[in-house]
């Protein structure tokens, strides 16, 4: 049955349990609903802190792996595990979720129950993506986190929410389809959906990564490039990488504050995580060949994102474009293939998650009070809430100062 410890499964499914519990409640006691959600979210965060102990520093490979045979044919298994990269991203996710819950305490007033159910399901999906080691399971969770996000934007968003939500879904799904094709192709070639293989506890399932790196499966260069592109496009849309970024400004502007926080803080990392988890390990040759073009796109994204964000009258769009710029750094770091740059990329992911989350919270606060996102109308706001503006700039300066130097450090 399920071999290995249970922490990861708990991490993935606990918010789902919370969501189900919420569904069973009546929808009118708003404060009770909010309290339950925040308790669930905080508990999830505390569970995720256990990961810090579970993954020792300097260990390689996956820790706390859990494996269960799920579907016999085609052989899809429930295989989850955590390593250094995913651990931090999971903790980031579970950290931002209670913050999003708290941020939406007063601003969401209609269909409160459904809102928090969606938020928790989103967390389920995201944590699942970060932890899954079976490609089909990965795809499942990937699609799973699209739906709650779409609802969050489309129901509780601002004026053009339906357009933004549909755009978000279609854009991301278009990429996901390509990824699915890639996954199925790999299955056809290797006979397994598993990524890394699992060889203990009487189970012997080989993984695609193992087969590719050991030479058991050799891909022709053209095939490898096509597969790489299939995965890469899906992740590039999510990052977002220029020129596939246009869903982001609309999604951010129209999303409610909590949605923006989760979107910017967490969902955007899925793209870069996917690149690190799939594109590079499975298709190293193709990655190297494509690196030049990816770097060009990333650099264009950095500069373009910054310049366009400069002239935005709408605050949320400004932050959205700056996210494009910042994640361009991450992609650049990943495709520089240096130890230092990869570390910088991960660090930048975390720093960006926290600082963008903070920025969106502050923007949300501004919006709640002024009901406009046009920065020109917000002049003189600082007088009214001193502490928030200070943190505004501390966060902003943090994201300028620290991540940039670390991530760029080795990209010579």
């Amino acid at each position: 049955m399920l071999s290995g410890g249970h922490l990861l499964s708990v991490l993935i499914f606990f918010p789902a349990v919370g969501a189900v519990a919420l569904m069973l409640l009546r929808g009118d006691d708003h404060n009770f609903i909010r309290s339950i959600t925040v308790v669930v979210a905080v508990a999830e965060f505390l569970f995720s802190l256990i990961l810090l102990r579970g993954v020792p520093i300097g260990s390689s490979g996956y820790q706390l792996e859990e494996f269960a045979k799920w579907i016999p044919a085609p052989p899809i298994h429930y295989h989850v595990g955590v390593d250094g990269i995913s651990m931090f991203l999971v903790i980031l996710t579970t950290f931002l979720t209670p913050i999003s819950v708290l941020a939406s305490w007063n601003s969401i007033q209609h269909r409160v129950k459904e809102f928090f159910v969606m938020l928790l399901m989103l967390e389920v999906g995201v944590v699942g993506v970060f932890l899954s080691l079976d490609m089909f399971l990965f795809f499942l969770f990937w699609e799973l986190m699209l739906i709650p996000m779409a609802f969050l934007i489309g129901i509780w968003g601002h004026d053009r929410r339906v357009y933004a939500a549909v755009k978000f879904v279609l854009y991301t799904m278009a990429g996901s389809i390509l990824m699915l094709v890639g996954i199925i192709w790999l299955y056809n070639a290797t006979g397994t959906f598993d990524l890394v293989g699992f060889h203990s506890g009487g189970v012997d399932v080989s993984g695609v990564q193992e087969l590719l790196s050991s030479g058991a499966l050799v891909l022709e260069p053209r095939t490898e490039m096509l597969l790489f592109l299939a995965f890469f496009v899906a992740f590039a849309i999510k990052v977002p990488l220029f020129p596939l970024h246009t869903w982001l400004p609309d999604a951010h502007v129209e999303a409610p504050t909590a949605g923006s926080v989760m979107l910017a803080g967490v969902l955007l990392k899925l793209g870069t995580y996917g690149m690190m988890r799939f594109c590079l390990p499975l298709f190293p040759e193709a990655s190297h060949r494509a690196a030049r073009w990816v770097a060009v796109l990333a650099i264009i994204g950095i500069i373009y994102g910054a310049l366009v964000s400069l002239v935005q009258p709408n605050l949320k769009k400004l932050v959205a474009y700056s996210s494009v710029s910042h994640l361009g750094f991450v992609v650049l770091g990943i495709f520089a293939f240096h130890n230092i740059s990869m570390q910088g990329a991960v660090y930048q992911m975390l720093a960006h998650g926290i600082s963008t989350g903070a920025l969106f919270l502050l923007v949300g606060m501004l919006y709640d009070r002024r009901h406009t996102l046009r920065s020109a109308s917000l002049a003189g706001f600082r007088r009214q809430c001193r502490s928030s503006r200070h943190s505004f700039f501390s966060w902003r300066s943090l994201r300028w100062a620290c991540p940039c130097s670390t991530a760029l450090s080795a990209n010579s």
Binding site: T246, L307, A379, R383, A401, S409
Partner: protein, 661 residues
């Protein structure tokens, strides 16, 4: 207890102001002023005392360099950057200047800002600045230095824009940060280049003498790695220390409260660039091209800024341009290899410039907020202490012996004269700038304090400042007098104490050797005399124009109208930048990038696809006409097509007819 407890816990020196900042920032909002003062002045004062103690221990230990790694901040691959602090003689000078002058300015600010709103916020930011500045000067590697570098830029932004409700103030803050950032871009590139070449950014490792001996000295015009790295680092220094072409933020920075101008834009932050160049002197001496660039930029800036300062009417703007000009002197010194002279001038400049700004603040405070010199006059009897201290500072900056500025400026001029590359030209401009400096500084004094009052005496009640403000003025005045006396003995063929002190740091890398043969010495005395003469000429002209014949000044301005207006409008540099860089960039971003590419281009494609899908659907739906007969037609047509395919398409017919067989 370790042998040198202060050095072992060196991090206390920057930590104390950070604590003060945090306490004031988090809790100070509701406190009365005196508690805020206690936290702010207390932390800075303690930091100063700790710095004194650290210096004492360092000198006691007789070491050349003390370095301690406190914790490892970044390790990635073989790159390690730690929170490492170091102390050597250069650090001694810098840390004492920063904490000492900083503390005095904090005391001053308690008087100056006493009636301002956001009192706690001001001191929180000021302490934050001290923290970052101390990190900068104590850092033992470029990465940590850069943290401090950025941090002071941030604090500067916060402090300049302190009166954020005023648009010009917040704009000035933004401008400062952004222009700084442009320089920082160069600095970062320089760091990366150094890392790529040497795989380390640690000072001790990089500047190790044996290590450095193995480097080539790159010839003029040759742009090797070291030269480019130095030029890039200098680009950062240009931004931070307001040299051409990135000086434009400093005059605007006068929007901040006067203590801010004194601390950040006179004594400490802007000197960070000079400090970096001095710290990297080993790199620079291996790159003569870079040194030449530094010298030329410094000299040009000194002259350029002095000319602008000649005609400005806002007292703080004159001082701002004066700062730019004096910083130019410091870079000139570094550029010709006289790093000691540059640091010496940094120190004396900190004293008298801070004094000038604080005294100007005192004047502004006395005048109830007026900053225009055209509305001042005749204040000498009314604000005696301010007048006296400011006069002393002016004597110092003009380079009149035996005040501090004379010694440092003289050292710079002497070494630039001796420089093998264009030394005479550099010297000429430097001398001219000294003349101009004396002129505009005395103009400032005369306009502000002498003559008849040009303001309504009934409306403005001129009063002397409280002792919280005057005390620091007096201390700084004393320092401005005696600060240069380290070097006094050289005039009597004695040792140069300052240079000897910094000897271990700059050692055999200065082009200005201690060759005090009689001939050179006499020559030096002659040059010193020429410099003093220039200063006195400047003084005399100012006296004549502003005391004896005040109307002559206006006549002169009118007769040289075009030149006058150009200078008054700062050579229209800001307008040039706005037109050549800012506006095109904004236009480009808005139209070409945002509207054209993003909205029209990419989104257009995406939405276009959606539209296309819809349009196709729209077109095709007409086939669902509900009209049975058209359905019938389609049925028939379909049947015919299938038959045709079966009979005539080779592949299909083989299969289909094969069955029939």
């Amino acid at each position: 207890m370790p042998a040198h407890p202060m050095l072992a816990y060196l991090w206390i020196i920057p930590l104390l102001p950070l604590l003060g900042s945090a306490i004031n920032g988090l809790f100070g909002a509701k406190w009365p002023n005196k508690f805020v003062n206690l936290a702010a002045i207390g932390s800075t004062g303690l930091s100063f005392l700790c710095a004194l103690e650290a210096v004492r221990e360092f000198l006691d230990s007789g070491q050349v360099l003390f370095r301690k790694e406190f914790f490892t901040w970044i390790t990635a691959g073989d790159f390690r950057a730690g929170f490492d602090l170091q102390v050597d003689q250069l650090t001694v000078v810098m840390v004492l200047v920063v904490t000492g002058v900083g503390w005095l300015i904090h005391i001053y600010a308690t008087g100056y800002m006493a009636h301002e709103g956001g009192y706690y916020r001001f001191f929180s930011y000021l302490n934050l600045f001290m923290f970052f500045m101390l990190i900068l000067v104590l850092a033992a590697n470029y990465v940590l230095l850069f943290v401090g570098w950025e941090g002071v830029g941030l604090s500067s932004y916060l402090l300049i824009g302190f009166y954020f409700v005023k648009k010009s103030a917040s704009d000035a803050g933004k401008k400062a940060f952004i222009v700084n950032r442009i320089g920082d871009f160069g600095f970062m590139l320089g760091m990366f280049l150094l890392f790529r070449a040497f795989r380390t950014l640690d000072f001790q490792t990089l500047f190790d003498a044996q290590h450095a001996a193995g480097w080539p000295v790159e010839a003029y015009g040759q742009f090797g790695t070291i030269t480019i790295a130095c030029l890039l680092l200098f680009m950062g220094a240009t931004g931070k220390s307001a040299q051409l072409p990135l000086y434009v933020w400093l005059p605007d920075a006068m929007e901040g409260p006067t203590p801010v101008s004194a601390l950040i834009h006179a004594a400490t932050m802007v000197t960070a660039g000079v400090y970096v160049v001095a710290r990297s002197h080993i790199l620079f001496t291996h790159a003569p091209t870079a040194m030449l660039v530094v010298a030329i930029v410094g000299c040009a800036t000194a002259f350029f800024a002095a000319t602008i300062g000649l005609v400005q009417t806002d007292i703080k703007k004159v001082l701002a341009y004066s700062t730019v000009s004096q910083l130019g002197y410091m870079f000139l010194a570094c550029g010709v290899g006289a790093f000691t002279a540059g640091i010496f001038h940094l120190m004396t400049h900190a004293f008298f410039k801070a004094l000038l700004f604080l005294a100007a603040g005192s004047v502004i405070h006395a005048m109830g907020g007026e900053q225009e010199m055209s509305k001042m006059g005749g204040l000498s009897k009314k604000v005696r202490w301010t007048y006296a201290t400011m006069f002393i500072a002016t004597l110092a900056i003009a380079g009149i012996p035996p005040f501090a500025g004379f010694f440092s400026k003289d050292a710079i001029l002497f070494s630039s004269f001796q420089s093998p590359t264009g030394g005479r030209v550099l010297y000429a401009f430097g001398l001219l700038t000294a003349l101009l400096t004396a002129f505009y500084m005395f103009r400032l004094i005369f306009l502000t304090f002498s003559g008849k009052p040009r303001y309504d005496e009934k409306k403005v009640h001129v009063h002397e400042s409280p002792w919280s403000m005057l005390g620091p003025l007096v201390v700084l005045a004393i320092l401005s007098v005696i600060g240069g006396w380290f070097v006094l003995p050289t005039f009597f063929q004695g040792p140069d104490y300052f240079a000897n002190f910094l000897g271990p740091v700059f050692g055999g890398h200065e082009s200005m050797e201690a060759a005090t043969e009689a001939a050179t010495h006499q020559f030096e005395l002659i040059l010193a005399g020429v410099a003093v003469a220039a200063a006195l000429i400047g003084l005399a002209v100012a006296y004549w124009l502003y005391i004896k014949r005040p109307s002559k000044a206006d006549d002169l301005a009118k007769s040289m109208k075009p030149a006058y207006t150009t200078l008054l409008n700062k050579y229209y540099v800001d307008e040039l930048y706005a037109a050549a860089v800012v506006r095109p960039l904004l236009w480009l971003s808005t139209n070409a990038f945002w509207k054209a590419t993003d909205v029209a281009g990419i989104d257009g494609t995406v939405n276009g696809i959606a539209h296309g899908a819809r349009a196709i659907g729209d077109g095709v739906r007409h086939s669902q006409s509900g009209n049975t007969r058209s359905y019938a037609v389609w049925v028939v047509v379909g049947a015919i097509v299938v038959l045709a395919v079966i009979f005539f398409w080779p592949v299909a017919s083989k299969t289909a007819l094969g069955f029939v067989r």
